[in-house]
Amino acid sequence: MSSVSLRNVAKRFAGFTAVHPLVLDIPEGSFVTLLGPSGCGKTTTLRMIAGLLDPSEGEISIGDQLVNNIPIHKRNLGIVFQNYALFPHKTIYENIAFGLKYRKVPAAEVERRVKDVLDLVQLPDLGDRYPNQLSGGQQQRIALARSIVINPDVLLLDEPLSALDANLREDMRIELKRIQEKIGITTIFVTHDQSEALAMSDKLVVMSGGRIEQVGAPKDVYDNPRSTFVADFLGSSNILSVRCEDADEKRVLVNAGRLGAVSVPREKATDIGVDTSAKLVIRAEKLCLVPADAAPDQRMSVEAVVETVDYQGQAVRYFVRVGDLQLQALNMIEDRPFNEGEAVSIRFRPQDCVVLREDS
């Protein structure tokens, strides 16, 4: 088990830069997720750590060893690929024993370790089968077993759940996290799925356009996005152009047009000066629809009309109109969903908002 550190690592291909110089430290034993839309450089970064791509510049270290010039087969990494990459002409046993064979492990120990890891992934009796006789979820577990049986220093997971259907994906997510915690291995997980990223990670690295947008604990990144990209990519947010009218060390007062003057606590609006343009972020789930005649409470309240209702079972996504603004709200259903065209009152708390600089 080892930490991983990237120092100004960049990757340029002919004509474009996939990853701009980035610095990233992955502590020993942690579960770190590289999250971003396709083309954000997350897979390129993973492939550089794996040794499948050479960085154009910068240094990659695993533990305290610089690995830039160490080929993939000597890096001692466990990699789970998106399509599992199980060897179709080898049995499950042979697939798992493959890495042990190249580590010159004695036959008796190979047998024991393969058996142990099959127990760990809860598929003890599949050794004699071939990969195409297994379901997607089983193949996924075998791919994981094959990568951890060699006791790798770091486990790299390249969108390992994306080929599974939705229900299985959630089961595997929990399973994967259980196994990772049990063996305590440093894990780098690449995904474009925010719920996977939020649920599994100790540390979240949000990437966009080949750059790191924000690094932090999932809750931290979710609650305090530092750029409009992060605010929009993680969950859905309403992002409004506002003007900062007053600011002191306790709070920042912004004029949000039809939503009125919003007084946001300073820790949610760092780096904002008086009389500047800014962006006000209100998460869709923090915007609450109540009947137009509901009694006032401590929240801010604005009259609105429901335009679109997107029913999702336990929750509803509403698009509401406030003058020339369209806002979205994600609410749990109480009694009944609101109807399209219904006049409502939208409520939100200023401390749930975030103010970002205009250029972020």
């Binding site: 000597k74 690929f81 998106q82 060897f87």
Partner: protein, 288 residues
């Protein structure tokens, strides 16, 4: 007629033009050849219809024919092995190249635009006494007398490789193309070198393509008479040359028929063995 019945009839309806053609242009002539092989050629040169085993007795017992059959199989084997060794790296390279794949495949097809006979004859201009290679060596003073490079077993094999290599490359290409590249990455991540990963994963998975290419090369190579005719010496005759000689030169159709059926039987047996291990579908994949 019910829908099911019409559905069941449709494949036969669609196949009928092809089946009719094959029946009249392949099955019927082969039956003629079988019948011919039991006729007898008289001293006068006329064919004597009947049921004589004379031709078969001659073909199956005369060591002359047996030796040439073994020689033919030897040449075909050497050619096939060399095609596999030369063709695999090329096929692998094309299958794994990203940008120029279409162009490279096009280059592979290019020789088919020129007649096989012309392509074979071109070696005379390269290796002949006044050919390109001798001229170059003479001009550069390395030799003082032109070398006799043509008309031996080596040039026959060379000509066959020239003819058959694209078939081998195409078959291997199709099967390597179908192998997921991340399998090799996965093998490397588990501790094997690139070369070991290739031997462990890609090579075994591409064996069906290699076998299909091998079968095609072998059957086409063993059945050719043009290459030894153009590039071979007097002792380099292959089995198909015997058929050519019997039928075209000596007009001995009964003997030629028996000889050609022997070749059909030997190559047919090889195809059956191949089919037993790999199945015909792989061959079709390579041809499509």
């Amino acid at each position: 007629m019910t829908l099911e019945k019409r559905e069941a009839r449709r494949p036969w309806l669609l196949l009928s033009p092809a089946l009719t053609t094959i029946f009249f242009l392949l099955v019927v002539p082969v039956i003629f050849v079988v019948v011919y092989s039991f006729w007898l050629r008289t001293a006068s040169g006329a064919d004597q219809p009947g049921f004589y085993l004379t031709n078969w007795a001659e073909v199956l017992t005369d060591s002359f024919y047996r030796d040439i059959l073994f020689h033919t199989l030897k040449i075909a084997t050497i050619t096939t092995v060399l095609c596999a060794i030369l063709g695999y790296p090329a096929a692998y390279f094309i299958a794994r190249s990203r940008r120029n794949k279409a162009m490279l495949l096009m280059c592979l097809m290019l020789p088919f635009w020129i007649s096989y006979i012309i392509r074979t004859m071109s070696w005379i201009n390269i290796l002949g006494v006044s050919g390109a290679l001798n001229s170059l060596l003479l001009a550069s003073g390395i030799i003082s007398e032109p070398l006799q490079l043509l008309y031996n077993e080596t040039t026959v094999i060379l000509g066959l490789i020239h003819f058959l290599l694209p078939f081998m490359i195409l078959n291997i290409y199709v099967s390597v193309e179908g192998i997921d590249e991340t399998l090799e990455d996965a093998a490397c991540s588990l501790g094997s070198t690139r070369w070991q990963s290739f031997l462990e994963v890609t090579l075994p998975l591409s064996l069906p393509g290699l076998a299909a290419g091998g079968l095609l090369c072998f059957v086409l190579g063993a059945g050719t008479y043009i290459t030894p005719l153009i590039l071979g010496g007097p002792t380099d005759a292959m089995f198909a040359n015997l058929v050519f000689e019997a039928i075209i030169t000596q007009l001995d159709w009964p003997l030629g028929s028996a000889l050609s059926l022997v070749l059909v039987a030997v190559l047919g047996a090889l195809i059956l063995i191949y089919n037993r291990f790999f199945g015909m579908s792989q061959l079709m994949k390579g041809l499509s």
